[in-house]
Amino acid sequence: MKRQIPVVLVGLFGLFMIFQYFVPHESSEWIYEFLLDWTIIIGIFAMALGLWSLYRVSVEKIRTRKPAWGYNYLTLVGLFTMMLFGFTSQNGEAWGWFFPFMVAANLTLVMIIQASVTKGHRGLFLGTAGVCLAVCIVIIIFDDTWGFHFETAEGLQSTMFRAFFDNILIPIFATMFSLLAFFIASAAYRAFRARNVMATLLLLAALIVMLRFNPYFGPLSPYMSKASNWLMNVPNLAAQRAIIIGVGLGIVATALKVILGIERGYMGKG
């Protein structure tokens, strides 16, 4: 029951999806789209597990006073704030009591965390959380300059949601990405040593391509540029094609093993 049913399900649905690929008819297409929606919906429901895991691991770090534990409050407050922004939006131009509400809501969260990590004073923290929650509820009831929207996507357009996206997520993502400029340099310095034939070929190919726009090699420079073009379009293409074919066979073999129940490692059973 615990082991067999999953294997049977994988086999059944896997085989069906293989056959489906060759049937263009509308009915087969309909089932394909429906089954694809299954995976999407399962993924969405799983998000609750993810958020719970994030919450629990962060609280656990605070409780056990792991290195850098204090910063985990930032994570949880950031998570909670962003989700509240995503579900709320202003009705007009005025902010009303929105920000006091956000402060009270986040205080509630922090107090609940404190209550779950503390050894004593649990009552005190829970009491404060209750008061903050009451403040939140009062504001929700009496302030109509903003409101909650769960069914419609107003939250995605709300000013604060967008501000957080544009000024927190985007700059950090772009900066993390640009760290690659430095890491590519340090990796090249550290690893590009002509230790053996393979390393030398790697190094030479990289050097030629990196020198492709350099005019300081006299009559050799145009050769450099053409050679780098050739390297990109001949050996690189051959390498890519071979890897693509090999990977394709590897993917198909792995997927077939999964469908036929030969490989059950994904269920922890080898």
Partner: protein
């Protein structure tokens, strides 16, 4: 740029610098940026899933109100009850005792994905690449044209070299045959081809990565100009001294932290 936008941009500049401080070492500023972004990104993604996934897939347009309602579903697409239940079976993971039930939706998920992959990857990766290899060679221009004929990528020789490279590299990937003798020799040519390709690809990427850093420099430069009202041809009508105050605050933070680290480093050297 009005003042509140400038404040936001200043915060973005702070986060940018905090992220770069990671290049030196793990430090409080990087920890701030890291922990904020983890939480906010998780919240952002959850909200996206809710509004763009859950609501349109399950919560069918309330305006189209069907006859009955259950679990957010209405009668227009009752069969969506199945994935909704499967999704909720995932939640059995919250319980230690019934955790094993969550294997069913996971098995479905993996079964469907594996089934889709088999013919699709066979077609896209194997069949199409194989067919591309079967092209007729450019015999009319076999040894290349022009001054740089040896590097002519459209010549028949280059096309032939691609095929040879593909075959050799595929031979390198054989698992059940020892790389010895002639077979080993061909496999060696294969791994050389792979290494040349990887080197070229590495060298080619450097430029794109440097561009990313240039973009960030431009962002910081633009923010600095904004602080001194020096950007663009039209001066900012909302400009006030507060812009500069925030610029200097951030600058002070950077200089202060740098000085602190240098002093710490020098002291640790002495002892």
């Amino acid at each position: 740029m009005d003042f509140s936008t400038f404040l936001w941009t200043t915060f973005a500049a702070f986060l940018t610098l905090a992220t770069y401080s990671f290049l030196y070492k793990d430090n409080p500023f990087y920890k701030i940026a890291e922990h904020i972004v983890t939480g906010v990104a998780a919240g952002y993604f959850a909200i996206l899933l809710w509004h763009n996934g859950l609501v349109p897939k399950l919560w069918f347009q309330r305006i189209d109100d069907g006859d009955w309602w259950w679990l957010w579903l209405n009668s227009s697409k009752p069969w969506y009850l199945i994935p909704a239940i499967l999704g909720m079976l995932m939640w059995t993971r919250f319980s230690k005792k019934y955790q094993w039930v969550s294997r069913w939706p996971m098995a479905l998920y993996i079964g469907i994905s594996a089934g889709i992959a088999v013919p699709l990857e066979m077609s896209n990766r194997v069949n199409k690449q194989l067919y591309d290899t079967m092209a007729d060679l450019n015999w009319a221009n076999f040894f290349g044209q022009g001054t740089y004929a040896m590097f002519d990528t459209t010549s028949g020789l280059s096309q032939l070299l691609i095929v040879i490279g593909v075959v050799a590299a595929l031979i390198y990937f054989f698992f059940s045959k020892a790389h010895t003798g002639l077979f080993g020799g061909v496999a060696k040519v294969g791994i050389w081809t792979l290494m040349i390709g990887f080197g070229a690809s590495f060298g080619f990427t450097v430029m794109a990565r440097i561009s990313l850093f240039i973009n960030r420099m431009q962002f910081l430069g633009g923010w600095g100009q904004e602080a001194f009202n020096a950007s663009g041809t039209t001066p900012n009508p909302n400009y006030s001294a507060w812009y500069q105050v925030f610029f200097w605050l951030l600058a002070l933070l950077v200089i202060g932290y740098a000085a602190y680290e240098i002093v710490k480093h020098l002291r640790s050297r002495k002892t």
